[in-house]
């Protein structure tokens, strides 16, 4: 039984206050902006060199330099091994990760976990928490000095730079520049993704790469084809006509699943966001001449809000979209979309294969993405880029030899899609967790139970790919859409930058906007109230967020 010493109690309390926002307590010197420890400029950080893996799995659809991901129509029949030997030294490797899947069986009843330990040569001790409880658990782990070897940093916890500096290892000496070549799978991750883990002028973690392509405005391609309708309107007017032709309330069919995706502030795309894209509105912020302008402050957003309200009043939006609990939004919209009750629905690009799994329309089911058309002849439509990395994995401060051992393990986990290592990491044991079906991998229920809850991919993952098991058509469609979307996309200029106020108040600020948007669309408030909503957003923290991001942008140039 550990005894409570004053030193340990104080240390835990100090780390907790870092997370709680009292950053200056740990500051050697603080800036007047109150961002905690002085943030060194993040320009000039030596990012790991990018060395594409030679002799790795060859995709059916090649990755492109502009960010389009590689695509695989099937999992390779004879996956090659890209590493040699077991990376681990038989020790226990602990990791804290969040999961979006049900709990996995314990090690003794989990062949997938056992196979993973065997392949890695370590004993994985995984502390898994539901995504919704991630922040609470991270708080106590920091306060109780109970951080594991590896920690998934998801989102932007409050005072993240100070937390990283106090508790986690600066990885620049281990991975910066050519140092990463000791770990070929890590070197296979392009430089773009590494920026996610750069704080305080140093590199603090290994990214979990995704893609820069944002959410997709899906449509039921099979239904539009059956009706002989053009799925790609050329203007907002044609989009309205399409919505009118798709809506048939007598048959409980509406064109649009929702007017505003409340998850929009996390990158979701609803009707409002789609019209903003038609009008060429940037994602979250627009940066020009050293000044940031919020999306909310742009006149085009008010115009998009007016158009969305008209579509809602015209009856083209599913009538239950506003009565759905926020926690069930995505699932409910999916249900309507799969059932054909809503023909157009915005969702993440990773949901593409899931729609095929859950569809009930049979073999004719097909979906695709709709590009935002130019609103009119005077507009230039854009799509939105998302943060290229989902999260990054930080290493608890430890001796050099221990860090290197952990890096070998994470290097194995970052083996690319199509390799033998990836097959074990993601799917598990053949015959138990997955089987071959029509030449492709089909995961069993046991496999889903055993692997999903462990979410080991959040500890280490190689570059993402487009792959829908058993649905080659979906892979081809997604690849083709990505090739259209990415060249037309614009990035949030604040991606990868840190604002303390944004970390603390983003939920409150988003709530101000979401409440007003929903009230205006439903006619509970007039459109003329929008400027006062924006004013409220500004004074409640929006202006502070702006100035902090502008400061960070100036330092990054």
């Amino acid at each position: 039984m550990d005894t409570v010493s004053r030193r340990t109690l104080l240390r835990g309390a100090l780390s907790a206050t870092v997370l709680a926002g009292a950053g200056p307590l740990l500051a050697a010197c603080g800036t007047s902006s109150g961002n905690g420890p002085a943030e060194s400029s993040n320009t000039g950080v030596l990012l790991p060199a990018y060395v594409p893996l030679a002799n790795g799995p060859v995709p059916d659809l090649p990755a492109l330099p502009n960010g389009v991901l590689a695509g695989f129509l099937k999992y390779p029949a004879n996956p090659i091994s890209v590493t040699s030997g077991k990376p681990g030294d038989g020790s226990t490797v602990s990791a804290f990760i969040e999961t979006f899947s049900p709990v996995a069986p314990p090690l003794a009843q989990n062949p997938y976990w056992q196979a993973l330990n065997s392949a890695l040569g370590v004993n994985l001790d995984l502390q898994v928490v539901p995504g919704s409880d991630y922040s609470d658990k991270l708080n106590v782990l920091v306060a109780g000095s109970s951080l594991p070897d590896l920690t998934m940093i998801s989102g932007i916890p409050p005072n993240l730079p100070a937390l990283l500096q106090a508790e986690f290892q600066d990885m620049t000496p281990f991975l910066g520049g050519d140092a990463v070549k000791k770990y070929p799978m890590l070197a296979n991750i392009p430089s773009l993704y590494w920026k996610t883990g750069v704080y305080n002028g140093a590199l603090y973690g290994i990214p979990v790469p995704r893609t820069i392509m944002g959410d997709v405005f899906y449509y039921r391609a099979d239904i539009l084809a059956a009706k002989g309708l053009n799925p790609q309107p050329a203007s907002y007017a044609e989009f309205v006509t399409l919505c009118k032709e798709l809506t048939d309330t007598r048959k409980n069919v509406w064109a649009l699943s929702n007017a505003n995706n409340s998850a929009a502030n996390a990158g979701g795309v609803g009707t409002l966001q789609f019209i903003q894209q038609m009008l060429g509105v940037g994602y979250n912020w627009t940066y020009s001449d050293g000044t940031l302008t919020s999306t909310y402050e742009m006149p085009e957003t008010q115009e998009a809000l007016a158009r969305t309200t008209e579509l809602y009043k015209a009856g083209y939006v599913h009538p239950d979209s506003f009565s759905t609990a926020t926690t069930s939004l995505t699932t409910t919209y999916k249900q309507w979309f799969n059932a054909g009750s809503a023909i157009i629905n915005g969702d993440s690009w990773t949901a593409w294969p899931a729609y095929y799994t859950e569809n009930v329309a049979g073999p004719s089911f097909r979906i695709n993405g709709m590009m935002p058309p130019d609103y009119d002849s005077g507009s230039k439509a854009v799509t939105w880029q998302q943060n290229p990395s989902f999260s990054f994995t930080a290493f608890k401060k430890a001796p050099k030899s221990r860090i290197e051992e952990l890096l070998k393990v994470v290097n194995w986990l970052c083996a690319p899609f199509g390799s033998a290592e990836y097959l074990v990491k993601t799917y598990g044991v053949e015959g138990v967790d997955w089987v071959r079906k029509d030449g492709d991998v089909a995961q069993t229920q046991a496999g889903i139970n055993q692997s999903g809850g462990l979410s080991i991919g959040y500890v280490g993952s190689g570059p993402d790919v487009i792959y829908a098991a058993g649905e080659a058509q979906a892979t081809n469609d997604c690849y083709a859409f990505m090739k259209k979307s990415i060249p037309a996309s614009v990035a949030d200029p604040t991606t990868g930058l840190y604002s303390r106020t944004n970390g603390e108040k983003s939920a409150i600020l988003a709530g101000i906007i979401i409440d007003a948007v929903q009230a205006i669309i439903q006619g509970q408030q007039p459109l003329s109230s929008w400027p006062s909503t924006v004013k409220s957003w500004q004074t409640s923290g929006g202006n502070q967020v702006r100035s902090e991001f502008e400061e960070a942008l100036a330092k990054s140039k």
Binding site: P102, A354, T444
Partner: protein, 304 residues
């Protein structure tokens, strides 16, 4: 010779001196009560039906099925086959039973001691208890205490920190103070110690109150999940509510086609099946406690 018999209409019983309700009023009351019952029962029926529905029906009905066209047990097979839910159920039962027994023992003894004026440390302990009613420790101080007591990853972390509820102690203390002091004095005169008085005089008279307090504790232990999140890192030791949360709150989409001969149940069916499994134990136990609950819920409400 008697005249024709007038058939007697049975009138609803009424309180003497009041007018019995008319047929119209009784009809309105019946409709209102039926609606209220339906509001309670229909969601419950929907949960069970959705857990037994197929993917097609779940999708066509928008995620909530009232009457399944075709019964599928795939969701129950999925959640019970891995052993996670059954294990979590066993853990929840153990923690609930053990926790309730420990909590009742601690609460009853503390409440009895505080109900006897002049007992050692009476006032300071009572003040401490009242202080605990007003102020609760934060997450981090509690975590630090649990950690340094060596209880992390232990089932005791789910019992000991919440073993004594100050409010329950106050309620039970008030009940004990309402017992006739003559009973306790006569037991003392007969040579009974305080523990004997508690065990053989006070507790037998307090069955209803103890049943209610016990039920409060039991429901609290059964529903608790946040302590498990904070103190238990090993997911194999998580109670049922934590496991339910990972099913219900998380909505990770399934990808890919299932293997031949295997049906992957829809996400909503999995969630509802877990909810059904979690409710069944409470439904089994509650009828046995209901009569005590009815009497005990008025504990302290009526004096004299």
């Amino acid at each position: 010779m008697s005249g024709p018999q007038r058939r007697k209409t049975k009138r609803p019983s009424t309180i003497a001196g009041t007018t019995p309700p008319s047929l119209a009023i009784r009809s309105v009351k019946s409709v209102v009560l039926t609606v209220c019952c339906a509001v309670v029962i229909i969601p419950f029926v929907g949960v069970i039906s959705t857990s037994l529905a197929t993917q097609k029906q779940v999708t066509d009905s928008g995620g909530f099925v009232l009457i399944p066209n075709q019964v599928s047990l795939a969701a129950y097979q999925a959640i019970l086959s891995g052993g996670v839910v059954t294990r979590a159920l066993g853990i929840s039962v153990f923690i609930t039973v053990a926790g309730t027994v420990i909590s009742l023992a601690c609460t009853a003894t503390l409440a009895y001691a505080l109900s006897r004026p002049g007992s050692f440390g009476h006032k300071p302990i009572l003040m401490l208890l009242l202080f605990a009613l007003l102020f609760t420790p934060g997450i981090i101080p509690m975590y630090l205490v649990v950690k340094y007591l060596g209880l992390l990853n232990s089932y005791w972390a789910l019992i000991i920190p919440t073993a004594v509820n100050a409010f329950n102690v106050i309620v039970l203390r008030a009940f004990f103070m309402g017992l006739p002091p003559q009973l306790i004095e006569s037991a003392r005169i007969d040579g009974a110690s305080e523990l004997t008085v508690l065990r053989r005089v006070v507790l037998p008279l307090s069955k209803a109150a103890l049943a209610v307090i016990g039920l409060f504790y039991a429901v609290g232990y059964w529903n608790a999940f946040f302590n498990a999140l904070l103190y238990i890192n090993d997911t194999s030791k998580w109670p049922l509510q934590m496991v339910i949360q990972t099913y219900v709150v998380n909505n990770s989409p399934l990808g890919g086609q299932p293997p031949p001969g295997e049906v992957i149940p829809p996400q909503q069916s999995l969630q509802m099946a877990v909810l059904v499994v979690s409710v069944v134990p409470i439904l089994i136990v509650y009828p046995f406690l209901q009569r005590h609950f009815g009497k005990g819920v008025l504990t302290g409400a009526v004096k004299g």
